[in-house]
Symmetry: C2
Subunit: 233 residues, 2 copies
């Protein structure tokens, strides 16, 4: 049975639309800090879920991703023994997450999908981060939605259901598009449609990830451009 | 003294970027309800500020503009003696505020300004309304910001200062662009730059409004395209 068409496509961002690993690693390597950009990017990202869990558990009050990224950065710099950066350099490096490059299929794929659907972000990244990223990379969002609006991080149901509420549609008229099965499972539990995007190199060429199909998803695509093919755009 | 350039231009929407009076009046006239579209549009809009004041005063809990518009619509329909609309027709009519047409200079002017600045909405309209409007009208926002994010209606300082907070810039690096002096005064009191846009026909050709310059504004422009001229875009 073909599912009825959604009206809104909500996109996870880090890993799904943009290549956080490659972008962070390239920028760190270019700084000649004497550390591996690959290892540094992985360590920084590894602090992401635990930091959000501290917020969700109430151990930290509501904290934007820019500020969580900075807390993790300070720890990672210490672990890697990087002591030569001044405050201004650290602030600039922290905003590398605003300067992530899209995967090559992202802009053309989103542009095709935008012709038929409302396309928005649904990211744990804060609104300023997502807007700056979109402006730099040319990501053609109809709307930038973020955990910041709902004051809850994915996979809190308030985020998935919040997209439906913002657009005044039923949850089944929203499709979450993501490269992460746990994110999609959270959306599915709220009644959203789901599309998995294969990003086997999310963690870098040295660390390929499993991109097997999960039959419970509505769609499984090798790229955002492939999703546009599947949805007839 | 030339003021330093802002980084973010935040736009008021109703009246400044889109022609609410003409759009609502045309749609009401086309419905052949036996009422004047001009008078109906003015009556609907007249309920807007009082409804937001009920929220700000705490008489109503936080309520989105879509819902305030519906409350006012029900009153206006009663006043005008319109009884023939069913629930689905009322819901559709209420969303005329998602279908407002831009002034002729808005899309070209915004497109020019976007090449140099981050451009966003700062409207009391809810996010879904603003996103639907932008998609239909081709308004090229970098980001849709709304009172809904700040849970406060303009002229609450939380809205003007919220734009600066979202983009992590100083208030003076944000410019509010609006066709309403009271909105600009609220922004100026928070340290934002301000640009007034002349919209003499905001209330319709039969009700021209005063568009005199207020010397306290940073800029005074006859249109958004003229503002782009003034800002060198």
């Amino acid at each position: 049975m073909t599912p009825s068409a959604p009206q809104v496509l909500a996109f996870d961002i880090f890993g799904t639309v943009v290549d956080w690993h490659g972008s962070v690693a390239r920028e760190v390597d270019a700084m000649n800090l004497g550390v591996s950009g690959d290892a540094f990017a992985l360590a920084w990202r590894a602090g992401y879920q635990p930091a959000m869990r501290r917020v969700t558990a109430g151990e930290l009050g509501w904290t934007l991703i820019d500020d969580l990224h900075r807390m993790i950065l300070d720890e990672v710099l210490a672990v890697f023994g990087v002591t030569q950066l001044d405050e201004q350099q650290k602030r600039h490096l922290n905003k590398v997450w605003h300067r992530l490059d899209p995967w090559p299929d992202s802009v053309p794929g989103l542009t095709r999908l935008k012709s038929r659907f409302t396309i928005c972000t649904l990211s744990n990244g804060n609104i300023g981060l997502l807007a700056n990223m979109a402006k730099r990379a040319g990501l053609p969002w109809d709307c930038v939605l973020s955990a910041e609006l709902f004051r809850a991080y994915k996979p809190d149901p308030a985020t998935y259901l919040g997209v439906a509420r913002v657009f005044d549609v039923a949850p089944a008229q929203v499709m979450l598009v993501a490269a992460h099965q746990d994110d999609l499972a959270g959306a599915r539990a709220c009644g959203l449609q789901t599309a998995y995007i294969e990003r086997p190199l999310e963690f870098g060429a040295a660390h390929p990830k499993d991109v097997s199909a999960q039959p419970l998803n509505t769609w499984h695509a090798s790229s955002i451009a492939h999703l546009a093919d599947l949805l007839g755009c």
